[in-house]
Amino acid sequence: MVTSFNNKTISAIYTVLPTHEVDFMDETGNYSFTEAQMKKLKKVMGFGTRRIAMEGETVGDYAVYGVQKMLEDEVFKEDEIGAIIVTTTSPDHFIPPISNIIQGKFNFDEDVVCIDISQGCCGYTVGLTYSFMTLNSLEGKKVLLVSGDMLSARVSTRDRASRPITGDGVTLSIVENTQEENKIFCSLKNDGKDAFAVYVPAGGTRMPITPETTKEEQDEFGNWRGKQHLVMQGDLVFNIIINMTPVMMEELLSKSGDKMDDVDYFICHQSSSFTLKKLAQRLEVTEERLPRDIVPKYGNSSSATIPVTMCEHCGRLFADGKKKKIMFAAFGTGMSLGAVLMDLKKPICKLIDYPHK
């Protein structure tokens, strides 16, 4: 279903990344690839360097650090925030929610709305849509949207399908009402029949983690995983992305009355270089309009990758100082797909390193 909103914008985006970096080419011993295969996959899949959080670091830690930096930079004042929305599949704890942890660390009002949404790769588009909905009831207030994941702790170091792309990162966006005319169109789609295409078997109520569940077993492709590790059916996910994303985008464009050529940039979830190359070919758009260079540099940080892309490319995207029509699109865990079409002025963008202890 397409929903539309009036006069809202994203005024700032901060990205907080670990400084700790790992390189796919240094992990030869982890995977059942030959050196020639690794070189090939580095080029085709974008397996490069990734930013990985240190053990024990959480989405909440990075978000609190990001809020501190935003406050120091006077991006917003604490009493301007009416809601804190967090999208992640990496909760700090089962209880309490990360949004409440963030609220408690600062002088936010006690009537601030706190919402944690369990969403992975699609998290930013879901979070934006919920932010716009919330803003309809928050006159004069802003939404602090936190989107991020720490999935490297959930992916086996010997999983050649998922480990070489998985990175960690947390982003913070300020979403607010604006006096300027700005019609926004959003679409969220779900296909729960394929909910287990991306799956962590143990660690919830269904299968608590025990010494038995942590024993790593080898699958038919040479991956070693415990039940606490993420399992992804990459081919199924790829096919859903390639088939469904263009349909969802067309749906938004038909509602907005725009054409593909009217969209300045397609800022998509950075799943893998190969997937994004195929998506760009299918949409007939250039890499300049659909960037796909985040996975080889930082890794796929799930719900964070769209704002990471914005921070990485902000200067180039808004080089002429004009508003741009941007299609945000994301796909993944759930299976969920989401897209947001909006005009955007250059937000305040900053990419900062997390100071590991």
């Binding site: 295969q37 090939k40 996959l41 085709v44 081919d235 096919n239 390639i242 997937t275 070919q281």
Partner: protein
């Protein structure tokens, strides 16, 4: 074209004989990573772009299937 395809396949997985009339995917001769590497090699050797919707196991499971996929994407 068939010879070129066998050459690419053998370069990817030299331990297998791709002249055999078997299903490369079902026999475990090619996995999903081999398939994306194959797509990349074919695209650069034949100067084509294979549509993402054609990146399916059934389109890369034999030399004949790969030929058909190339021809379809040359149009």
């Amino acid at each position: 074209m068939k010879e070129q395809i066998i050459e690419i396949l053998t370069e990817l997985r030299p331990e297998f004989d791709f002249t055999e009339d078997v299903n490369f995917i079902e026999e475990g001769m090619l996995d999903s990573f081999d398939m994306v590497s194959l797509v990349d090699e074919i695209e650069s050797k034949f100067g084509i772009a294979i549509n993402g919707t054609d990146v399916l196991p059934e389109n890369f499971c034999s030399v004949d299937a790969i030929c058909e996929t190339i021809l379809k994407n040359q149009k």
